[in-house]
Point group: C2
Chain length 521, copies 2
């Protein structure tokens, strides 16, 4: 992205009348690696204690598995199944043996292979927010999600180079029928962008539709997609200690198709998990272990992530809180637990703020530092999440893109050698001088420092003369400029038509009660 | 601080007419320790390379020392002095030998000994902003600093428990005469609060006045204050490579009085230092080494800090930028360089934003993470700094206090033992239950989690019904409530009168041209 070139055919007068061009500068798309040592908030002994306690919990208390096929698979592998309450108890050896089959890293392919990404081995990806039911922007306020808002949001997500992946529907299109709106979302995600995208873990049919549609759009067989996956889904346990039917269905179907699963207990400390962080982490770990084991028994070697989402409630009101100091510590501890299993780690960028303000900014920073210095490999909701995940904000999307760009620059190591230490330039300038004009500066200044998308570094008077806009007001201009300048990435016309035909056919099938699609290969 | 108790004598009607009570909840005052391993952005080899390069710079290029007594002291210790340009060249052995005499940690005493603090050994202190010439709040906007604004700010600083130290005059009282306003500031700092405070390194007389006034107010002899210092000052080099006269005077006078000196080069990369971070850090290190060596030659064992303030300019405009990714890395590298010398480390909480918005929030977070995970011992400007240090904002003060409280909580280790892992409670609740009512929760919920001062976690509707205030608007209410409920800490009447008499006498002396006070013991 560069500043829009002026149109020489326009008279100055006509130019003045136009809507002001923001001109969005941003970093290019890149794969991102973290070479710093993670922050360890727990000792190795404590990590081992939590791991052992979680295994004990799965052995003694067990976990409720509500889906029959999942219970059957676990029983066949040696688990003890109590049919009275669907409780499954797992031996430590069974759990650890299964999880040992999971890969330590994997690759994903995008429709545009320039957007391929890797998860693991120090590489981290930033995925946009997924799941909010409401949309928000500063012009129109908060409203229930619509297909139109979802499409606009997907376009801005595509435009933001720092985002590696669409995050599984940023705004639920609540104006479309619930049973088939996943088809509309998948079609929009695949055609609006050619980056990777996430699908819904809400029953087997929504997972199968995702794989079918990916195959059509990318021109790939099931085997090719299994070799290098194209989509990813988040699997949430129903904390405490319950795996429900739709989630189990998706886990098994996506697993058989070889698509990555991010296993994420939602252990809100004080509500769905113990009021102590160590207790919440133990429960998180137990639920993750159970899901990870099930995935590897179902399909050995399927790519998986260990998800940490431990936060806490406000004990005065019971309201969930995000981006708290406890959240940050839990995010780092989660990374330690994932590394204990040698599995990639998923964390998030979260806030409870109802608006894009200083609180949204600092809670997101606390989350991002927790994730990144926790050794994360996938940041889900990396951009756009607001109001505890109920709302996707257009301005928050831009704010978060700025935070992510900043963190990406922070992760770039400082170069140290004779030329960089610049003793010659320092001697040349000497006491009391300045470095603006010396050769050492002139050779490097254009790309010496990070150039922000959102930050305004102008002095007070210049800033005030230019309207004195806050960061949130500037973010509003930026997303609108990104949306205005959006162009759909190219797509093979035949595949595009086949995709549309598939969606139409599936809508008819689902309306007629045929939920599960025929697999396409 | 707790919620203000309702006054039973007031009728409901009269109560309604009163200004709404905010009720500020905050953490108690506490000494803060960081037990996490610092983030190392440079390898040990790179740190050694920068250290060696800085020593080479001091040997070959040298540093301009503008004050004759400082040059004399350095020459007597073995430095080579070029009288043609006041250039002083120092051998590595001289520099390293002198710095080896500096203590690795030290204590400071407050007027109220409950506010005593330590610097070093993992302990960090948070000092309010010092130096801004302008004041800003959301009601009255930006204006030149006045004595009245300074006093209000000092009161709020005193009220905020998370702040350990006043930071050397938050708002310059530009309505008072320049030559004597340090006396007004010192008197206000000492009487408004009974925490420790910082003084001005602007000539020997302002340093001597600080020590004299501290002695009067605390009832301490010079020897007692030397044994446990009462004030601290920031010594800035004039980068590149220059120590000016007022700064040298203060360095020598404060040093002889045994008061701590935070040596801080202001190496803005691309302007006053090389455009490369390694170059800026090398120059920062060289200037810090020279100041540290001078301090220890002048007064062996005087407490000192290694200050890092490397940031970068916007290469498009030359404007200084703060809280950038480069700033964060430099803050962490600075901590590594300080630890190389076994000297406590000073960093800052900075932003270039002109207003308390999302940018102010994320730039401050980037600074704080850089400082704290850089292993800082003194965070200068920990609360209140805005607009690149030109302005002290009342709302930013509250925002930063929230960030500092959050970081303090983040530094509290997660407890891990059988009770905290809560296997019993998890089994008791079982699949699908919740933890609100179980004994394990009820025993702990009141103090389980951090309770924020500024964050609003209410749901959207409740928040909107309560006025839908942004974090900045809430910060505005909080500082006004803190100011309203301020009460001056008690002070011995005789000392209070002696202090006022000293200020009156000194104003006369200075007006008559007698700048340096007679030392009081």
């Amino acid at each position: 992205m560069t500043e829009a070139a002026p149109n020489p055919a326009m008279t100055p007068r006509r130019r003045e009348r136009r809507v002001p061009q923001v001109g969005v500068r941003q970093l290019p798309f890149a794969r991102v690696y973290n070479r710093y040592k993670p922050i360890e908030v727990l000792s190795a002994d404590h990590i081992e204690a939590i791991h052992r306690a979680a295994l004990k919990l799965l052995r003694e208390t067990g976990i409720e598995v509500m889906q029959e096929p999942a219970r059957r698979i676990l029983k066949a592998a040696g688990a003890e199944v109590d049919l009275a309450n669907d409780r499954v108890r797992l031996d430590p050896e069974l759990v650890e043996g299964a999880i040992a089959k999971a890969p330590a890293s994997f690759e994903m392919q995008a429709r545009n292979r320039a957007y391929d990404i890797g998860i693991g081995k120090g590489e981290m990806i930033f995925a946009a927010t997924g799941g909010p039911a409401f949309a928000h922007d500063c012009d129109r306020g908060k409203r229930p999600g619509t297909y139109a808002d979802m499409c606009d949001y997907l376009k801005v997500v595509h435009q933001l180079n720092v985002l590696h992946q669409e995050g599984g529907c940023p705004i639920e299109p609540t104006d479309l029928p619930a049973d088939t709106r996943h088809l509309d979302f998948y079609e929009a995600a695949i055609t609006t962008s050619d980056k990777t995208w996430q699908c819904w873990a809400l029953g087997a049919y929504r997972a199968e539709d995702a794989v079918n549609m990916g195959g059509i759009a990318y021109g790939l067989s099931r085997a090719e997609m299994k070799a290098t996956p194209i989509t990813l889904t988040i699997i949430n346990s129903n904390s405490p200690l319950r795996l429900d039917v739709p989630m189990c269905e998706a886990l098994l179907a996506m697993g058989k198709a070889g698509q990555p699963l991010a296993m994420t207990p939602f252990t809100l400390s004080g509500a769905m998990s113990p009021v102590t962080l160590a207790g919440a982490l133990t429960q998180q770990h137990a639920e993750a272990l159970a899901m990870l084991a099930l995935s590897q028994i179902n399909e050995p070697g399927v790519p998986v992530l260990y998800g940490g989402f431990t936060s806490n409630v406000d004990m005065r009101s019971g309201a969930p809180a995000f981006g708290t100091p406890e959240y940050t510590k839990a995010a780092m501890a989660g990374g330690q637990l994932a590394r204990r299993l040698n599995i990639p780690y998923r964390s998030s960028n979260v806030t409870a703020s109802n608006i894009v303000d200083v609180q949204a900014s600092y809670e997101s920073m606390m989350s991002l530092w927790g994730a990144i210095m926790g050794g994360v490999n996938l940041i889900e909701h990396a951009a756009g999440w607001m109001e505890g995940g109920l709302t996707a904000s257009f301005e928050k999307l831009v704010l978060d893109a700025e935070l992510l760009q900043g963190m990406r620059e922070f992760l770039k190591p400082i170069a140290v050698d004779e030329a960089e230490m610049a003793l010659g330039a320092i001697a040349e300038v000497g006491p009391g001088g300045h470095f603006f004009g010396v050769g050492h500066t002139l050779e490097r200044f254009e790309h010496a420092f990070y150039e922000p998308m959102l930050s305004d570094w102008r002095n007070y008077q210049t800033w005030q003369n230019a309207g004195g806009k806050t960061g949130t007001e500037r973010a509003n201009l930026i997303w609108k400029e990104l949306l205005r300048s959006y162009e759909a990435p190219p797509m093979d016309e035949g595949r595009r038509e086949a995709l549309t035909a598939y969606v139409a056919k599936r809508k008819e099938e689902i309306q007629a009660g045929k939920m599960l699609p025929d697999p396409i290969d």
